[in-house]
Amino acid sequence: MKAYRVNLMVCAGTGCVANHSFEIKKALEGEIKKRGLENEVEVVATGCNGFCAEGPLMVVQPDGIFYGHLTEKDLPHLVEEHLLKGRPVPKLMYVPESGKLPIPKMSDIGFFNKQMLIALRNRGLIDPEKIDEAIGRGAYTALAKVLTTMSPEEVIKVINASGLRGRGGGGFPAGVKWDTCRKAHGEPKYVICNADEGDPGAFMDRSIIEGDPHAVLEGMLIGAYAIGSHNGYIYIRQEYPLARERLVKAIAQARDYGLLGDDILGSGFKFDIKVARGAGAFVCGESTALMASIEGRVGEPRAKYIHTVEHGLWNLPTCLNNVETWATVPVIVNKGADWFTAIGTGDVSQNPWGGSKGTKVFSLTGKIRNTGLVEVPMGISLREIIFDIGGGIPGDKKFKSVQTGGPSGGFLPSELLDLQVDFEQLTEAGSMMGSGGMVVMDEDNCIVDMAKYFLSFTQDESCGKCTPCREGTLRMLETLQRITEGKGEMADIQLLDDLSHFVIDTSLCALGGSAPNPALTSIRYFRDEYISHIVDKKCPARVCRQLNVYTINPDFCMTKGHGCGVCRRECPEKAITGEKGKAHVISQELCKKCGVCVDVCKFDSVAIS
């Protein structure tokens, strides 16, 4: 094995790849060769590093120096200074806020040092396409332990004791699920990995697969051994081409090594995995719809009083967990249930629903400085995630709300920033853990508009099989639409509330059962904003254009813009009058409130009230 003195860990997660990280990698290799360092420095493409806001990025090891926002023209200087002369380059390092000093080491950056990595344990440390590197970091040792020293019942006992709950949204205790599936009648039994992550702004599962596919395979192998299954499926959406490619490669490598197939590690146990591609329907992330889709039927859910652990795929016992859950399993096996239960909240020794143990991966998006992927211990506060790790809101804007749990999660206000993040507390607050999406909103976001946005997503993705979800979400969406257009009445708030409860109570699956959450929580925590829209006919965040009044500040228009006339030319309704050199005026009768004048004015002369 060739020894290098430096490894450049270039992030090749989807975010960085979109920012040309493969080109950066190629250019780096060229530059390194030019300097004659190709026998000393190796460039490695890793999975998602997590700090997507800084991409394209890389980490120089063994020094642990973090460089972000790389461009090809930075590379000659970087290679000469850091790699040849050993002097790290401050101008490419992370700067927490303008005016502050750059932070050289990744481990000193606030975004990283509050995180605790279990599911993402190998992120940025291995080339996901090389199984040897994963093995070097301990992959498949938990499988070896299970196959040689534990009975299936003992494995289930450990998972039960660990309090591991499903990371895909439901939070169902994995041990309970495995145990029921093991005891269910019917052969063969199936193990499924749900990689149909469909929440907008969520990319936890994608990143785990892209960065460390063997963690998922190992988790499924352990689960299969515990349940007594020899057939596995990974259901992954077509929109994740890179993740799927790496998964397929990982499966092929694992088969070559005899880690999948017959007689795994010489133990006699056999298990193999097929990859099933989903077409990207949101509802196919629901377990029964997902199974229908694998079977080749229309991806629609069915009533769940018949449990999938007993009658799942092809009506046979099936154990389904999501990517993150599977990826967590090997660590629990290796380190033990006690180690795992020491992290998180509550007590799971008597009741598997009694607490939230371990860590959870969240994707931070929206109005937040450090967009990216973070893994934190359960019980951490929202404030720590958003402000300490996420770096707060850009541009000194005021925090308004955070939506947790994907499009069907609730909006939580600033009063709840100190809420401990776990399954129970989030549900109690009207939101949910969901799969771990976290969308941050600031004062410029209108909460009614956001509720409308998320509801329009879930309504669009509603499969239409059951009436409450199909029709109920549509009526709710229409009501929200009316309110944002200034045609709302006070009774609409009650109507929304009633409809929400009706849809939640009567829908067939969790899609309808959770879709009203944004509307419900926005009414619960931001009632004032509804009243402004309905009674005052005003949108406090000035987002709902139909409620805005656009006027031109004559002073600004004259002194700054000298009556440039751009707004007059661009206005599609010809509602703006004036001549060059003079202040312009908007006719309120003609104005259709499209807001083009605001967008085109370079002098901020158009006021919104």
């Binding site: 003195r5 860990m9 090891q61 002369k85 040897d132 093995i135 070896a144 090594y257 590690l265």
Partner: protein, 127 residues
Amino acid sequence: MPKLKIEDLQRISEEVRHTTVLREGAGRAKVTVHMGTCGISAGARKIVDALLKLIEADHVKDVILTTSGCAGLCSREPMATVELVNEAPVKYVDLTEDKIQRVFKEHVLGGKIVKEYALALGSERTY
């Protein structure tokens, strides 16, 4: 490809251990070669090459080799600093390929400081 047995996992892990240790930045020993302009012109590149060859030839897995800028004592280049875990760093001066080989075998691998090539024990304080 032959199917793996359980002991093969350990073997593969051992084979890639140098890479793993390098990326975790957690070696037992760290050798820093000073590569300022002065160091490079005095032959520091040869020292790095020699060290890399030693690491490869001896299948050493837990030693990290790194470079840094000028150490401030340009007249005694090429220089290298050897740091063993929990021990004070030692600076070696006026190095040649033969000298660094001895330092590597005796100090880095053997834990015994090669006194005749060493400048001093310890490093300057940094703020």
